[in-house]
Symmetry: D3
Subunit: 145 residues, 6 copies
């Protein structure tokens, strides 16, 4: 099997399809730190805060600005991809309900020389605040840490 | 098993992980039209052209402006997510090498009332034109058709 | 006389110059659905909501996601043109007072083969919240429906 | 009749609907300087250059940086509205064929105290380089001069 | 010594390094109008309002739309540079604490023919609302007035 | 004297005002790595390439993707600030002639615990390709490394 990149690991976990628990275990045994959570809001800063809080609480990043900066930029890139351009939700009358996945480890599995990186994937629904008037969206940000 | 959305179908196919051929067959039997191809360039318009050409050649869209417009907007949204903001590659000295996946069918599997949509997913590498100086990226656009 | 496009029809109605009632009648007799309303706010989502509400109430779009999606994207494109870039009003301390025009019908008059489209035009004033410190702006979005 | 703003004057002239020559004369007699031209390209800088060249040749702006700056920003704002976001044409595989209208005069007709402004309106078609696969677009920029 | 541009004058004053009072005096004697103030917020419109209020109160601009428009655009360009792209603070969970400097005068010192311009420089910190989790940022906008 | 941040160090060096050589020496003795160069083009990728080449040649970054990624993002942020929004030069018929300054060291002088960062500052002229029709611009990007 081809070696997976940190992005593909985070994406497979985000899609939550198939035996996710085994997949997560498999990569935790390879020293990846992994967390999956949920967030939903018309307020983009609440989604950002939910991810930052989870990352701190789960010790995915250490309490220094260097690492917080890497996480923040990965989140903003993921959100920018999710929104496909301007990072706006409620301001343009739309809402997001999503699963976020944070993965920290080497850029490519089994390649320690590829260095430590952090990947954030957002996968879920985006649309008007009315149920059923929404479609799927995805976004991913990857930063060195 | 939960019903999958057209986005998840396109994403799973894009990641090319596991038994993709079976998955593609499975959804083709459910009347989804699916195509996977590859494109790589520093020139964003070449990537767009490769996807448009494939969609026409494979009869995923009919030769009318209505459908071409839906495809075009799905591509641009996917590219915007892939680039995380400004749709620029060579202009900012970066290059993309990616798999594109086009899926046409109902927004949610086995829900004819959800209507016909087209999803475009781009998954691959983005980075400097030097090999190894790149990381993964993803983008998805979904439009009614 | 040259056949008008759906955009020009919406633009002429927006400018509200000359005999608008006759013009609207003329195109309603050609099966265009037309609505003109007003909205003003520093809050972009209120402007979007006003247009969406009018479109539903006036039966310009049917209650399904397919059509709502087309309308939404037409509104956002119009607002993006009106704002000339980032879709921000109050966040950058400016306000908009505008007439919105929604037109649904064929892309080109008397050409049924051009398909059904929806055009949204915003025309009015943009500027600081102080009266007289504002100038005109326009934006138009056109989507297949 | 309500006093028209410089934007509405430029918009009516752009749409080229009705007796444009009379309208242009009417406003030239009120000391507005007006020019209408055509440009078409996949290359945004060629469209910008065509407008700048016309403005200089027709003495709409004087040869100083102050006025050139005002014109340039009005063009970029108009182009941004026309493109509805990112000022990109060929880079995202689309083309524009348009009429540009430049109007210089008071912000509101018959109100000398409203000061001198310049308005640029772009109205035409945008779409794929294939004929018939395009729809209308509009953009307007207004700057003090 | 090389003649300084209005931008460099504003930048040197913003950095607040060395004998700022003398520098300010020196340029005030050359007929530059200068003001330095402070603003801090997660709310971008409060920063804009603080600068506009200061400019009016200190008579840097006259009470007409022409000049207010020039100031506003200079502020937005400065803020756009400070934010490096989208003009968003709290919406993306970040905060700014900054010194703003407004300078009005000729584009180049001792060159009256270069005309009157206004420069706005923002220099300070940007980052998460937590102390110490922030780094420096700068932005400058220059407009004819 | 207040401790300077890496941004202010890079900004003061960029402005090239006063005794720059002494300032550079002073910070080199404090273990900052500093380089100043020049670039001018209508082609944004040439400016990016000039900075990347200088950084490699002068050993400011090591030859690994981790560090190259940090440098690249610092450059793009600086360029985004310089352009005040979209990172476009020739595409919108404008040109840049600038001094770039790269500084690597602690985020705050004499505070080793603030970690290693890289700052890129661009300062120069932006405008139409005609001499004298240009004004100053600045942009800065700061990234952990």
């Amino acid at each position: 099997m081809e070696k997976r990149g940190i992005g593909k690991i985070a994406l497979l976990l985000s899609l939550g399809d198939g035996d996710i628990e085994s997949l997560q275990k498999y990569y935790e045994n390879k020293n990846y730190i992994i967390y999956r959570g949920q967030a939903g809001s018309m307020d983009s800063k609440k989604i950002i805060a939910a991810i930052e809080t989870a990352a701190s609480r789960e010790d995915i990043i250490r309490e220094n600005y260097h690492e917080e900066h890497a996480l923040y930029h990965a989140i903003i890139e993921a959100l920018s991809g999710y929104c496909r351009g301007q990072v706006l939700l409620g301001e343009v009358l739309r809402s997001a309900g999503l699963t976020f996945t944070i993965v920290r480890g080497t850029l490519v599995e089994d390649e320690p020389s590829s260095g430590n990186w952090i990947a954030v994937v957002l996968y879920g629904q985006i649309g008007s605040p009315r149920r059923g008037f929404e479609h799927e969206a995805i976004g991913m940000g990857i930063q060195p840490i």
